[in-house]
Amino acid sequence: MDVREFSKIIVAGVFLVLLQVLLLNNIQLMQYGFTPLFYVLFILILPFDIAGWLLLLLAFFLGFSIDIFEDTPGIHTSATVAMAFFRPFVARSMAPRDGYESGIQPRIFYLGAGWFITYASILVLIHHIVYFSVEVFSISHLPITLLRILVTTIFSLIFIIISQFFMFRK
């Protein structure tokens, strides 16, 4: 990864954090105020060849910036770090027979809707499970927590999939 590519990634991260905290957090759907957590898109679209340690550190700082704005110390951070940890395993298990060709990015445009939706669903679900479990940190509200995880996952995925058709044309 060269400097140009890295600075692009940082700009995308800052953009997603601001979009999330200044705009998307005002969307509160239905009775419990479900908010789509769109910013996790950042972890999904990092290039395949990124080093493991860099992936984890970027995820850490992504979650930490959201936490600062949201007054939720550590909650988003623990979820983004967990999501980043599982990303290489998910990507590897879904690789085509002879691996990913060089220059291919984890986006709908390169790998198709079926691939991207499966890949995004698994990772977003991991993120949301960790996020809502750490936030509640008790099993007394289990049905509500499960509902929050499922509905928020669906909302986040809708935003993430739509974004693919706007931002990532070649």
Binding site: N26, Q31, L56, D67, P73, G74
Partner: protein, 278 residues
């Protein structure tokens, strides 16, 4: 040594994951909202400025409702003015103001950040130490009680709102003055619960619940909500009462911060007395 390095190289991903996750989880679970360092808080300079900037634009959208609320408030105050009343006695004695001491001071503020969907909701206000705000001051709106200030920076303050599972506010039923504690369960932003009311007390749906005035944070008789439903607990002798909150936290915009000028005196007296029985 060589083997150790190879081993570390092989597991560095797992190791880094564990370290970062421990940092994050200890922040999330080990910390008390009230004691978090100000850096981790939206009262910090960058996020505070940014939220205020956005709020400057968003504010215009709610001007209409805001006006209606203010007009209602003015009418209510007019209703309480002495000129509204016909004095129906022959004698009228005029109290000199020197007999009264100001106990509560009111400071207006604007919300620049609000949330209702989390388990522990915190709001950010655009007044800080420069305006005389300090922790443990009460926050109310024209509709009812909102919360309590927890942290203050130069220009901003954060308050723990009623929609926060860690907050308990002393409250009483207005008609018979039995008091208990208001708590929120983290689910519905329109409902909270009143505990510790003994189950021999007569209550009915629609009863008004107000602040008790025992906490030195809120003046007595401020509206918190009305009784929505109540049930007797079988395992103890208290009711669990569901309250419809008077404040609509979804469209909250202007609030008033209350300073009890006698709070330091009350607090020091109470802590001195508590020491006697330790």
């Amino acid at each position: 040594m060589d083997n150790l390095l190879k081993f570390l190289n092989r597991i560095h991903f797992l190791l880094l994951f564990i370290i970062l996750e421990i940092i994050a989880l200890s922040l999330a679970l080990g910390s008390d909202v009230r004691k978090n360092s100000i850096i981790l808080n939206s009262a910090n300079k960058i996020s505070g400025t940014m939220y205020e900037w956005v709020h400057g634009y968003v504010q215009y959208l709610s001007l209409k409702t805001e006006n209606e609320i203010l007009i209602n408030q003015v009418l209510l105050l007019k209703q309480q003015q002495s000129t509204t009343f016909y004095i129906d006695t022959a004698k009228f004695s005029n109290f000199a103001d020197t007999a009264l001491k100001i106990k509560y001071k009111y400071i207006s503020a604007q919300l620049i950040k609000n949330s209702t969907h989390k388990k522990n909701n915190i709001i950010t206000l655009n007044k800080g130490t420069r305006h005389g705000i300090h922790p443990d001051m009460g926050v109310i709106s024209s509709q009812g009680v909102v919360g309590i200030i927890i942290q203050v920076s130069a220009n901003y303050a954060t308050a723990i709102s009623l929609l926060n599972t860690t907050l308990g506010i002393s409250a009483k039923i207005k008609k018979n003055s039995y008091f208990g504690t208001i708590k929120w369960d983290g689910a519905d932003y329109e409902k909270a619960f009143l505990y510790e009311i003994p189950n021999h007390v007569l209550i009915s749906k629609g009863d008004t619940v107000v602040t008790s005035g025992f906490s030195a944070i809120f003046p007595p008789e401020l509206i918190i909500g009305t009784v929505d439903n109540f049930e007797k607990n079988s395992d103890n002798n208290f009711y669990t009462i569901t309250i419809n909150l008077a404040t609509n936290f979804k469209n909250l915009n202007s609030v008033v911060i209350i300073e009890n000028l006698m709070k330091p005196e009350i607090d020091s007296l109470e802590s001195k007395s508590a020491v006697l029985f330790e």
